[in-house]
């Protein structure tokens, strides 16, 4: 059941990325290009996503546990530390450079363009690099 729930979540998420235009890196960059031919579409993506997600979290607050797990497992960190700010800044540089963030890049893998596959491979290496650094401590 948990596998099915995950699959359904991924399918809906991927459909949303596709229909909204997020899987097109040029569209993402056009949203970030406020000084050029600005395409504000992505603000509408967030405008559609955030209230619906917020409703889900609000319903969750009234429940003791989710349907298929023992309990809710949300983020536990609260500090606005250097890791958060530095990580977000580094991610933003890569996002602006390519127009790809993790979700849309993965959702594009099935299309099989070499550029997408190379990006995703590099992204996985970057994630592995972080784990190595964490372990080296």
């Amino acid at each position: 059941m948990r596998a099915l729930a995950g699959l359904i979540g991924g399918l809906i998420f991927g459909a949303g990325l596709t229909i909204s235009g997020m899987i097109n890196p040029l569209k993402v960059q056009a949203f970030l290009d406020v000084a050029g031919n600005w395409d504000p579409s992505l603000a509408f993506v967030m405008g559609g996503a955030i209230p619906v997600a917020a409703l889900g979290f609000a319903i969750g607050r009234r429940r003791r546990a989710p349907l298929l797990s023992q309990g809710f497992s949300g983020p536990t960190k609260h500090a606005l530390d250097a890791k958060l700010l530095g990580g977000a800044a580094i991610f933003g540089i890569g996002w602006g450079l390519t127009g790809y963030c993790p979700g849309p890049a993965l959702a594009s893998v099935g299309h099989g363009a070499p550029e997408t596959l190379v990006f995703v491979a590099a992204m996985l290496v970057g994630m592995a690099g972080f784990r190595l650094l964490l372990r080296a401590g």
């Binding site: 998420f13 235009g21 967030m46 990006f119 992204m123 970057g126």
Partner: protein
């Protein structure tokens, strides 16, 4: 230049929000793609792998049902593409999230960390695009 698509983007966004709500209410987990893919351990692999499978399959399912999908790839050279991928992978793990975990789920939960992170990555991304497109660093 791309076309302004308010209706599709709002609808697609609502689906992304629905997926986030579904993951929270069914499994009690945040639909943050960088965490789902980036956590190396086998923990919770039972739903993580199917989620990623669904994510990859979704556009193919839509395409086979007749939807026209605009497939584009980043308009930069291979070197910068690889650097960009490395930065996205490393940065999202260091900063504990990406556009989905921070930008949608975290902002929806009114998490101060996520709101700040979202402002920071939008700002640095916009600066990079400005340098690329308006300061003559087209190859960048």
């Amino acid at each position: 230049m791309t076309m302004f698509t308010p209706v599709e983007s709002l609808l697609g966004g609502a689906l992304i929000g629905l997926a986030a709500a579904w993951m929270w209410l069914s499994l009690g987990r945040v639909a943050g793609v960088s965490a789902i893919i980036g956590v190396a351990s086998r923990a919770e692999i039972d739903w993580r792998m199917p989620f990623l499978g669904g994510l990859v399959a979704a556009p193919l399912v839509l395409a086979s049902s007749g939807m026209e999908i605009v497939w584009q790839t980043p308009p930069i050279g291979w070197g910068l593409l690889i650097i960009g991928g490395l930065l996205v992978g490393f940065g999202t793990r260091l900063g504990s999230g990406c556009t989905s975990g921070h930008g949608v789920c975290g902002v929806a939960r009114l998490s101060p960390r996520s709101i700040v992170a979202t402002m920071v990555f939008m700002l640095t991304a916009a600066i990079v695009v400005y340098v690329q497109r308006h300061l003559g660093a087209g190859g960048l």
